[in-house]
């Protein structure tokens, strides 16, 4: 079965600091990759996705992620965080060939940004 690891459970940064959240997955086949964000009191939202092509994908609010196939990684980055980026971030993976579309989520990383 697939698994997703998010190594940082809680990250605390000051505004304008750079962010990188790690995500590694274990699966030998072709995958689609996602980062979701959950702001306090809100529902889970898609931040960005990777299906194929350019391994560097850009999402909303200045976030980007890079798919490194050889490392089975899909790390999320933002060059300068804002207080409003405080949220929980989830990495997720799905087998592209699966008709069931079962998503495998990491345990999430809580990001706290101090103004």
């Amino acid at each position: 079965a697939q698994s997703v690891s998010q190594h940082n459970h809680h990250v605390i940064l000051s505004e304008a600091a750079s962010l990188e959240l790690g995500c590694n997955y274990s699966y030998g086949g072709t995958v689609n990759l996602f980062w979701y964000v959950q702001y306090p009191g809100q529902h889970l939202q898609l931040l960005l996705k990777y299906f194929s092509g350019d391994p560097l994908v850009k999402g909303i609010k200045g976030f980007e992620a890079e798919f490194i196939k050889s490392k089975f990684s899909f790390n999320l980055r933002k060059p300068s965080v804002q207080w409003s980026d405080t949220a929980e971030y989830f990495c997720a993976v799905v087998d592209r060939g699966s008709t069931l579309g079962r998503l495998y989520f990491g345990r999430g990383t809580q990001l706290t940004v101090w103004p």
Partner: protein, 116 residues
């Protein structure tokens, strides 16, 4: 555009009472539907998924069940709630898009269930 509705937003129930949480999707047909439970620090746990009417698969043994009586309706139920059923429940949907495979899952606002 597609939307997903989940209700109620908050529910407080006594132990041993029944449960019915409903989720409906609009603007798409034949979606894959999912029920998750989200626990702090533990991410999202997939409970059930469905690829069509009447087709339910369970990921973990538990006190809950799911049904899909209509294409865009997904119901989470229990006959007798346990204290351990407390949590935050999320419904989600996705569709397949040919060779690109599964599109992102889109989530409802969730139901906060408290068992007393």
């Amino acid at each position: 555009s597609q939307t997903i509705h989940q209700w109620p937003a908050t529910l407080v129930q006594p132990v041993g009472s029944p449960l019915s949480l409903e989720c409906t999707v609009e603007g798409t047909s034949n979606p894959n539907l999912y029920w998750y439970r989200q626990a702090a620090g533990r991410g999202l746990q997939l409970l059930f998924y469905s690829v069509g009417i009447g087709q339910i698969s369970s990921e973990v043994p538990q006190n809950l069940s799911a049904s899909r009586p209509q294409d865009r309706q997904f119901i989470l139920s229990s006959k007798k709630l346990l204290l351990s059923d407390s949590g935050f429940y999320l419904c989600a949907w996705s569709v397949l898009r040919g060779q690109k495979g599964n599109q992102p899952q889109h989530f409802g606002d969730g139901t906060r269930l408290s068992i007393l």
